[in-house]
Symmetry: C2
Subunit: 215 residues, 2 copies
Amino acid sequence: MAKTVSAPRRQPPYHHGNLAQALVAAGLEMATEGGPEALSLREAARRAGVSPTAAYRHFEDRDALVMAVKVAVLAQLGAALRAATRSRLPSGLDDSERARQRLIGIGRAYVDFAIANPGRYRMIFAEATFPSDRLQGEDGKDAGESPYGILGEVLDQMVVASALDPERRTGAEIPMWALVHGLSSLILEGPYQQLPRREQTALVQSALELVVSGL
Amino acid sequence: MAKTVSAPRRQPPYHHGNLAQALVAAGLEMATEGGPEALSLREAARRAGVSPTAAYRHFEDRDALVMAVKVAVLAQLGAALRAATRSRLPSGLDDSERARQRLIGIGRAYVDFAIANPGRYRMIFAEATFPSDRLQGEDGKDAGESPYGILGEVLDQMVVASALDPERRTGAEIPMWALVHGLSSLILEGPYQQLPRREQTALVQSALELVVSGL
DNA sequence: CCGGATTGTTGACGGTGTAAACATATACGC
DNA sequence: GCGTATATGTTTACACCGTCAACAATCCGG
């Protein structure tokens, strides 16, 4: 009775089913816990309940896994920024001011994401053996929900709402992007880590306003 | 004849003489080649011509060496910024404009350092096991030639030269610091790595002007 | 001159990334 | 339906890494 053969799913099947995805999920966990340097192929395999080198059937090397996790994190950040673009704005603002507030809003959302998820955030800037083999390509042409794409969208809307001179639109993402990333680094690893959250966000707000008003 | 005993310095003496320093130097090399993750205690020992674990007499663990190298890099960056504050400025500028140009100058110098020394630059933001044990302290109270201190000096000079409202002096380093760090990251690992150096520096210049004029 | 403190060495352990050889399940052509 | 190629997972092995403990050489203060 209870033949081993026909017993349904006694122990995990030989084939995992979706190892690649499970490995990325494990990698995401590890990144959350300790950033990019905490990400290990063997540990990921362990967490996926699979032999130490099974990951090599899905990722050429550690860097490949890192990249995959990085992409996943970018998607999460993109979602956070997208959510920020949908948040309610105080009423009684004209279109121009609303567009401006949207921009400041995603800036805040970016830094908030970094503060709330330091490990995952740092994953975004993980390296791939510096002498960069094939850095370009990237293919991410859709960029539909890429953080950078969303920033571009919001800037475009500012132009439409006459909150930004069309002539200054080109390259406008640069100072914004640089600022939010710089702020995040400063708060995460720099001189402002000790500050109470309250003051941190105040500092972020004023820096954002400064740059946005300068655009 | 030629007694082994008295033969002068046939082979390196048992005691290295200045291992700690040599290890930091080796670490600096390795950081130059491949950033923080390329830094290994054993390899540093090897380059210093010493046994694999000798480093432990001078550094508690790998992180300690990383920190030491980080300090060394900060000093180099500080020197670069200091040099920028001494560079000649075009004549015919009033004090206020000169002070402003100084600020832009160290901003450029910061990004230039990052571009010229990506590995060493990234070392500055190397982590020490995120759950940070004793992050504060830092003691670096002198800050004489610390990059952050130099930035503060230049901002103070702007106040003196009436290029910056004293009321806005507090926290003025934040957007500047965030910007130059963000720009560096963007150029090193972000969407602008492919750009010709020429356009990169142009982009840096305009972002700096935008922020400085907004201070 | 001697004995303790510094500094460096040796050997060992568990962890990592990676490659090669092997095993098993799945999928596809006949 | 069968049989085999292919995809996926396992085992074994190697070199490297960080770290610890035990040992050896040198230096320095009494």
